[in-house]
Symmetry: D2
Subunit: 383 residues, 4 copies
């Protein structure tokens, strides 16, 4: 995830957008093909000095201003006028953000699915592993570890579905020009928008969304939901791994030691999941709050305030998903201890045990849904 949201990845995504814009305008008959070719050739991140761009970005207020300047120099005088034609800084940066979002969401969904696969295996494998069901941290009624894992799976599938759906439906190119009017491309604006979208495999939006941040807000909200779905199993693992409970333990040898207490085996992956998901609600609030500050045709601060928390959201949720996958894939379950921990108050419910059959239905439903989703229509990154 660090690589997907690295400065160079953003730079390349901005260059990809400039390149696609040139190609789209060639297809629309606005830019000679050889000029577009020159632009496309120049749009390689390795040709740019990212530190210098950063310094100039601070003075300009955003990184696109110096990038366009250097890109124009790189393509030569003839093609220079077609670089960035009809676009404004926010067009490039918003579209680049959508490209980054597509990669990040694909990676995150992949990691959530890894965790989900593990949860599905745990659910199926422990369909008849009896344990205490606990509510308000008190023993309540018996359940199975399979049912617990099915509950985890259900949340993970909700999250993967939501993120996958957003990725496939809501990522769109941004193209509006200086004040979002598409004036300088007139009358070709809508056509260039459509071709740019086609070039990049994103949706087209006839109405520029410079100051309508619904897409960004939905993205943040969905990452917030995913964080909750990732945190839930991690929280349960830390509780089940307590010495006094001892029903699961993280299965990676040599991990989780202590600087002062060598006998300890800390649930490091679950804890790392929780530490990452804990970052998310505040970041979502920051993104949502920024949406209110998009004054007039482009924000004086509200737009700029989105960049960092969005990147942080990808990193936090991505890291959490990777850690939870690691945790669940290696989770060691102790059915004997689970049975032994069941308190006297619950014994009456163990024979007969209708919960075994009823939770079996729950496990089946959750696992089938997961399997269907995993084998469903490909959601691979179309780019």
């Amino acid at each position: 995830m660090a690589a997907i949201v690295a400065d160079t990845a953003y730079l390349q995504a901005m260059l990809d957008t400039e390149a696609a814009l040139a190609r789209a305008q060639t297809r629309a008959g606005l830019v000679p093909a050889d000029h577009a070719d020159a632009i496309v050739r120049a749009c390689r991140a390795s040709r740019f000095d990212i530190d210098e761009l950063g310094r100039k970005a601070a003075a300009a207020g955003n990184p696109v201003v110096p990038l366009v300047e250097q890109l124009r120099e790189a393509v030569g005088d003839a093609a220079a006028e077609h670089v960035h034609a009809g676009a404004t800084s926010q067009d490039i940066l918003d579209t680049a953000t959508m490209l980054i979002a597509r990669q990040a969401l694909t990676a995150i969904v992949g990691d959530i699915d890894t965790a989900g696969d593990a949860a599905a295996r745990l659910a199926s494998g422990h369909r008849r592993t009896v344990m205490a069901g606990r509510t308000l941290l008190q023993q309540a009624l018996p359940t199975t570890f399979g049912a617990k894992a099915a509950g985890w799976l259900s949340g993970l599938d909700d999250a993967a579905e939501l993120l996958g759906s957003l990725r496939d439906r809501r990522l769109a190119v941004q193209l509006g020009g200086g004040a979002g009017t598409l004036a300088s491309l007139h009358p070709h604006g809508p056509k260039v928008v459509a071709l740019l979208a086609e070039e990049l495999g994103l949706a087209a939006s006839t109405v520029p969304w410079h100051t309508n941040r619904s897409r960004i807000g939905e993205l943040a909200g969905a990452l917030g939901v995913a964080a909750g779905a990732l945190a839930k199993p991690a929280r349960d693992v830390t509780l089940l791994a307590q010495a006094e409970v001892g029903e699961v333990r993280e299965g990676v040898a040599g991990r989780g030691g202590s600087s002062a207490m060598p006998h300890k085996r800390n649930p490091v992956a679950a804890i790392a999941t929780l530490a990452n998901t804990a970052q998310v609600p505040g970041l979502v609030a920051t993104v949502l709050a920024a949406a209110a500050g998009h004054e007039h045709e482009r924000a004086a601060g509200g737009w700029h305030a989105e960049w960092h928390p969005l990147r942080e959201l990808f990193v936090s949720v991505g890291s959490a998903a990777a850690w939870l996958g690691d945790c669940l894939v290696h989770l060691e379950v102790d059915p004997t201890r689970m049975r032994a921990n069941i308190g006297a108050d619950l014994e009456q419910y163990l024979e007969p045990a209708p919960f075994l059959a009823s939770t079996g239905d729950i496990v089946t439903a959750a696992v089938r849904r997961h399997a269907a989703r995993r084998e469903g229509p490909s959601r691979e990154d179309p780019a």
Copy 2:
């Protein structure tokens, strides 16, 4: 909105759930029809002492415990055993929350649509009203007030669509019993879930979602997106209404006076919109954070922490939507001042004025989408 989320409304929604549960079990052949009838008859909020329930709820940890007790007394000994059969407190409260959410979302979507209708009228009516486009609070390039209103409209339609879609797809009954196993209804659990869903016009969920709070998180996230869409036009109105700009003013006479400065006319509705939407990001964060704390089969605090912010979200977003509708419906626009404010730097772009045609396309697109959505398949509350 205050009425929709009032204590009595929650009480009635809990009673509606208990009544529907009894009816569903009758249809499943588990409860004699006359007992279900007795339960249904007793499920009227006016028969209960809400203050006493509140006091007992504090001792029990939730309001369902004393409610069920009183309901059992009310129906007489014979039917008492069928009250709340197979259910746990969270089943009732979560389902009731979904019923409240349906009403609240319908009201909010209605108020957003009122604001959207007004924005659509402004967009169409001012399709050729030239004004300065402003980015980073500086004059950038000319645009039209129609295009600005089309941008507002676009955000409002995104929000209404998102909330309407959630309402129609994601509100589900909760039924799992004590530890979410459906054991005490076995083997009729899934059937009762389906019938309960039918009774209440909600979706069925085979896997109980006691600790999978995706539905709640999506709801909160969507309300967060809506808050941003509502705040954006309100922010613009406050800026356009500045004395030095003077391009719009709120059109309700006698409103917005000052205790010390009688000459003032404050944009009260826009300000109230902003004050309400400002509550939202923090509340969304609270709901999302709570999702991480749903330990085991039911949370020790995380669930309880959701109730209040969810209600507050409905109130804040609902109030904001009502205020923005009021603001936009009565907005007075001053095209002469808009034209006069255009600075010298922008004059060069006024003749010829491709932006007039290109923003016309944007207005058309936004208004058509709004009209299509408004005339689309009915999204009325199915209950």
Copy 3:
């Protein structure tokens, strides 16, 4: 706490401010004594129709506009000109908020101290009660329950000290008039500010703080710190009360039952504490974010956005403090179970047991500090 922050309490606090303003101006020689007396007599909340004020407040944008109107009517023509003289709506509402804050902080500090007293008793009484020290939810090294309670106490004393100090140092009158210039009181402005402060027992601020929200932000931040200090013991109680741990239980009979599982005894007070403290971080964020939106001489939304979350903060932290006091005062501790739970890995540290002496020092330090604070200079509400 509900009473302290009720609408009528805010109304009375606004009236107290108007009354004190009249008295202060009489002392400054600006208002005849009999007119001030008439104003003071009229400033009783019971004389006002709070619902009507609410409706008119919506139209005016704040409640002070209609309040002043009605107050002027109530005092008669002669005194009417001296009502609200030199003040603006924000002066009255901000000062009233400070008066409410003083009462709320006093109540909250009182409830934190009740919890602290109980923690101190637990710390002293269990100074030699050996139990497992747990880190990352794993058994780490032995400690004592006294040391754990001393840790709780330390956080509670930090919180009480911080809130008490803010109450005594940072609550100030607001008086600046229409644009915060004190012009209409010139040259008596600073003197009236000082006298108003004296009348109300608040600090004076020569520089109006209409748009400098440090006081409000510090208040919110301190309440956020208090929420953390209250949540920590509650979290520990829920964990220690787990059936598999069983080292404490809440001691109020007949509380914490379940609608489906009569054998359960849920730690209701600890859970209510956690549900309340969970509201706080998001509310603090809302208050802090509002501070950035205080444009020019008075905010268009940012100020209005503060009112609700501040009140909610008082209620959430106040409720949490009351619930935690209840929890700790009645906490039942099981030293036998604590000893029995200590795992084999920790046995080596039990004989000799330097931790008994070293944690004894910690207990002593924490309890002494608490006692000193409790017997220190009176922090009673000076009004």
Copy 4:
């Protein structure tokens, strides 16, 4: 600020803590001087491979575990047993965080003071520069630009004072050992704590604060208050710099250009200030929320969740302070435009103009306080 909170800075701060711990134990007679010397000599960040530490930290759950391992290797067998003696990972990381906090706060206070100095100059220099006072974004009554700048200054001084006071009073060493009992240092624990505090110039805390996060919460809250104080002048600058208002402009040539609109001069520094401060409320909420999750003697996630947002807070507030200083130091003020913008409704208040004298008093009070604070007892970093 990036350097102050860089990974290497944290590494060095951890090493400084280990070195000071060795020296403190030598002074307490627990460690031979030559062994402490060996440890001190080894504690140089440049001797460690920070990437490798990072990888091993992920496996161990925190960076101290591998650091201590490598440090022990570096000092040789004889001194190895005295490395990290009596300490636990959290002791080192929390103390290191305090060292970083001291440097970060000193830098932030310095930058706030630079902004404050500029605000004080603006206040004094424009003591009689008449302009429209604006409330709710409407012209209200006349004021002076001096009074406005005095209001900014007042907030900046509040923030600097609060942060400086926290730095001087609330930064403390952490030393408790494995379960916070100080057992392995018994009976020298309190003495070693005191000596360690002396070595590092931090406060001593007899009661370990592993799970009492008041210090961290207060720090976050104070940074949140500072963000509000920094955002307020930045917001005003963006509003005053609007073309239609034109009363100020950022004075750095060649900055704030647009990729599409060369005539623009965007208030880049003010916007960067706002983009940075907008990050803060969400981060404060994250830190405060983490405090509730410090289970038992050390958190399973709650502690780990603090590290990142605390660092982000330093960066965001530090960057905002630097940008605002830049903005205010170079601010160009246009008194003629200010006078010209005053609307007809306000003319009646201009002659006579008591506000000139009354705001003069406000300016004097704010500037005097600033001067006194700047010349007050040195608050320099004592280390």
